[in-house]
Amino acid sequence: MDNKNKTIVVNIKKCLACKSCEIACAMVHSKSGVLEEAVAESPRPQRMVTVEAAGEFGVPIQCRHCEDAPCITVCPTGAIQRFDEQAPVVVDADLCIGCKLCMLICPFGILQIDKKGRAIIKCDMCMERIEKDLDPACVEACPTKALSFVLLDQSEKAKNSNASSQVKSEKKKSKDKE
């Protein structure tokens, strides 16, 4: 049950950019769910996490399951939804008309078109695995534990503001440089 309050955390200092998470994600979301068969599927299974090079680091980019998710707000049919405040943001393909408004509004640019039906696909935080008390596939596949699935701390607000002030000071630094 605790799994529902967990989230995927990235420690980019540990990321090798090996893309194991990408493969695991595509495999779990393929028709067969088995690597040997998934590679032969047509259209090829799509991954919902992308490892990008950022300076000297690799960064796995995936849905952040925003607290106030713009994709949920903008979806005209209610296809993008979450079942409660802590739950991951998921797409109900049965309601998605493929208008791509969410693709336009995602601040992280992670929403993609499904090659099969031109609906939207995104990270569902491996809902089915979570319910079985397993970690999401990308987390399980990460060899260095750069990706981890951890509980969010709701109480420690001090640290939180500390982190945001750090962002602000960094922003100021970069402005001063200019």
Binding site: K13, A54, G55, E67, P76, I97, I113, R118, L151
Partner: protein, 455 residues
């Protein structure tokens, strides 16, 4: 029990049905549709590319999605008449005449392809793509040819060109003026044409093809007096609203030819509403009624009409047109007005280049590029925005969307415009402690950072 009858089972009609059933569980909703099942229209390029092969693969609003709502769908049926005096709709189903009475009716009859007058456009091999059946014909013809000509300038025409290129066909793209004329500015169109040509799409620009030749089926097209051999011509030259039924029962049409509605999506007959590609809709910025056949607007309008039909009284201020697509590896975003659509509503729009490159960016190994435009009215209020990007374009586009939606002042917007990509890089690079997580975007549109419990 209040009875609602809806004619048309695509995005607008089905959203109206769901909204009505949600608004008032005591309504009885009947949807009369000509289709065999509701399907997602953007799936048509996937059908042509061979990623799917039957409408079932792209079905939407299936029985499971509608479970729990009091909605009855009558498939393969054509509405033939609306008796506005008696509140009865006649339709043909299974070859027999049927009738359904209503308290409120919603017309969502959609649109049909608009085929330009070109000599030979009735030949076999000239296809359209608004239905799965017509798209299946494209697949059939494409099997025996190695060259296709697409006529049109829209997103979906480009998607079909891309799908046919994936099948290994030589694709010629004929556009009379420029691509995506209603969505983007001329220099962005030129830029796209240049990029697409490099990827192998052959452009036939400057004027429409003047002739489609061949005996019974297509053998060649003529463009600027030059013959191009092909057996397949795909017409993506826009749509016209299906208004025959509305016209027949005396519902007023607007100058654009679509059904005239008010801010409640109500037609000239007080208990009949019209939504989707067959009707006009109010533009958010100006409040003027325009014909804008876009899926998302149809769905939003459907919701308003459905709720009103079920007894609510909701008005819309207007809808913001926003479209995005990914074609041949390029992401294209168009939000609000372009100079073309602004002119149609009498707005004098000024175009500004937005240099997103100067703002801090995520340090990718291969630097992606972005080209962006801001459109403002006389008071320097943002009325439109466009963006072409290689990767993660929405990291910028979402801010542009907010700016157009709220009609922000251009100067104020530029002062606050912080590249989210830079923001994300900062967050990830500078505070990447293992116990801090970026939990997306919060209510104040800034990044939310959360601590995690130490193990």
């Amino acid at each position: 029990m209040r009875k609602i009858a809806i004619i048309g089972g695509s995005a607008a009609g089905m959203m109206a049905a769901i909204a009505a059933a949600k608004e008032n569980p005591d309504v009885d909703v009947t949807v009369i549709t000509m289709d065999r099942l509701p399907y997602r229209r953007p799936a048509i390029p996937a059908l042509i590319a061979g990623a799917i092969n039957k409408p079932e693969d792209a079905k939407v609003f299936s029985a499971e999605a509608l479970a729990g709502y009091n909605i009855k769908i009558v498939c393969l049926s054509e509405a033939t008449d609306i008796e506005t005096a008696n509140n009865v709709i006649s339709y043909i189903s299974d070859g027999g005449k049927q009738k359904v009475s209503y308290d409120s009716a919603i017309i969502a009859t959609g649109s049909s392809p608009l085929i330009p007058k070109i000599t030979g456009s009735d030949k076999k091999g000239v296809c359209t793509f608004t239905t799965f059946e017509s798209a299946a014909e494209i697949v059939e013809v494409a099997k025996d040819t190695n060259c296709a000509v697409i006529v049109g300038a829209s997103f979906i025409a480009l998607e079909i060109a891309e799908a046919l290129m994936h099948k290994g066909l030589d694709v010629y793209f004929n556009v009379r003026s420029r691509i995506l004329r209603k969505l983007i500015e001329p220099d962005l169109s030129e830029f796209l044409i240049d990029r697409f040509e490099k990827q192998g799409l052959k452009m036939l620009t400057g004027q429409a093809i003047s002739q489609i030749g061949g005996e019974q089926s297509v053998e060649y097209v003529v463009h600027k007096n030059k013959k191009t051999a092909t057996n397949l011509v795909v017409m993506g030259t826009g749509v016209k609203p299906n208004v025959a039924l509305a016209e027949k029962c005396g519902i007023e049409l607007a100058q654009s030819g679509a059904i005239k509605v008010d801010n409640r999506m109500r037609t000239s007959v007080s208990n009949i509403y019209a939504v989707g590609d067959c009707a006009e809709s109010p533009d958010l910025g100006t409040g003027m009624f325009v014909y804008s056949p876009v899926g998302s607007i149809g769905a939003m309008a459907g919701k308003i009409a459905g709720r009103n039909a079920a007894g609510a009284d909701v008005k819309t201020r207007g809808f913001l047109r926003a479209q995005a697509d990914q074609i041949l590896g390029l992401q294209i975003y168009s939000i609000g007005h372009s100079t073309t659509t602004a002119k149609e509503v009498g707005l004098e729009a000024k175009v500004h280049d937005l240099d997103v490159g100067q703002l801090g960016r995520f340090e990718y190994k291969q630097k992606p590029f972005e080209k962006a435009k801001l459109l403002t009215d006389g008071k320097d209020k943002i009325v439109g925005a466009q963006l072409v990007a290689e990767k993660y374009g929405s990291q910028f586009a979402w801010q542009l969307y907010q700016a157009v939606l709220n009609g922000e002042d251009r100067k104020a917007f530029l002062e606050n415009f912080i590249s989210p990509r830079a923001k994300m890089a900062e967050t990830l690079m500078n505070i990447c402690e293992p116990n801090v997580v970026v939990k997306g975007i919060g209510k104040d549109k800034s990044l939310v950072l959360k601590n995690t419990k130490s193990p």
